[in-house]
Subunit: 194 residues, 2 copies
DNA sequence: CTTGATATATATCATATGATATATATCAAG
DNA sequence: CTTGATATATATCATATGATATATATCAAG
């Protein structure tokens, strides 16, 4: 082998840093090379094209998200997912933009994914009395809350207002509130029926 | 004057359509000219540069948002704003991406804007007992809900699940739930104090 | 030491893009 | 009808970008 080698990891790390600081649209071969202190050659030795490198950056982001999730321990697995997502958005706002917002691929297999979650929800005693439609509505509300909080946490203006513990508190509280509301409305509807 | 003239409006409309269908990144002088059936000349006669035209497109989007808002009549002005925002995101997803998500300018004067809203909230009897911090928290939760629902409504996968009436229903219900939750927690805290 | 392989650097190409210079067509003013 | 103004079309420029061809440097195998 020749002298030294820029590894795939080095390239992905450099690209990830650029994307973090300046956004995905700044991922040009020349920017990456400059950031690495090399020419553009290492890019094409390690990847077939720039697109492949970008995909590797996204895979790295997914890994980081998984790591953040694994560090959560609120007791409720659903809440954990929500917390991890918002924390990721806050810590890597520009990556979040690319992965979550632009990525419409995520809705491939979204229908099956929903079914899986609904089935998981059915195992929860508290949710036993809900119909499938109600569960889907509850899930939608929760997803909206999480997505919205991510969107806000991602913005500079909210950074100081939304420290990690506050994010967890808000997600927890509103989650409980929405669930309570659905239970209350259901019992009210039951009453009215009789 | 020479024969015919491509008006500013014609140019903005053409650009708006391109942005709607293909996204803001497709707003190139040649794309706009092609869509208009002209050369690139009319662009530079009517605007100093492409950036000016893009700003005009964003102004048009803001106008449309205002129009949608003016058509709302839920009884609650806050809810109206939320509904209008989500409906806009659903109808013009790619414009929403540009205006709401990318636009970090919106957080200029965000602090003053928040104060205005908080003062408005204080006029509401139901919210009279809340401290400023509580009101800010309530506002944040509502904003998160609205932003998140917009984000979901914008996606193809949710289009059929989120018709207009359902959007209104969800915003209304969750708004009530979150407020109820905050009231409940406050009274619980008051109890504990005594 | 020689040779082949390959990582790297550099020059270069093709293409896309915003912008401008120039020519042409059209119309109003006189 | 002539003239000036200007909307439009076209050619062209400068720059950015992804990609490739080529030369060079380095190292392992023999």
């Amino acid at each position: 082998m020749p002298r030294e080698k820029y590894t795939k990891d080095q390239l992905v790390d450099a690209a990830f840093e650029i994307a973090c600081e300046s956004g995905f649209e700044q991922l040009t071969i020349r920017n990456i090379a400059k950031h690495l202190g090399s020419s553009i050659a290492p890019i094409y030795v390690n990847f077939n094209d720039l697109e492949e490198l970008k995909e590797a950056v996204i895979r790295k982001a997914v890994e980081i998200n998984k790591k953040i999730l694994s560090e959560q321990d609120s007791g409720d697995p659903f809440l954990d997912v929500g917390i991890a997502s918002v924390l990721f958005a806050k810590r890597y706002p520009r990556i979040y933009d690319e992965v979550v917002i632009k990525n419409d691929k995520s809705y491939q297999g979204q229908a099956e994914n929903e079914k899986l979650i609904i089935n998981q929800m059915k195992k929860d005693q508290q949710l036993a009395s809900f119909s499938d439609d109600d569960l889907r509505l509850l899930l939608l509300k929760m997803q909206a809350l999480q997505a919205g909080l991510s969107l806000l946490a991602r913005k500079e203006a909210y950074k100081d207002m939304l420290d990690d513990s506050k994010i967890i508190k808000i997600l927890d509280e509103t989650g409980v509130d929405v669930l309570d509301g659905m239970i209350r409305r259901q019992t009210a509807a039951d009453m009215a029926e009789k």
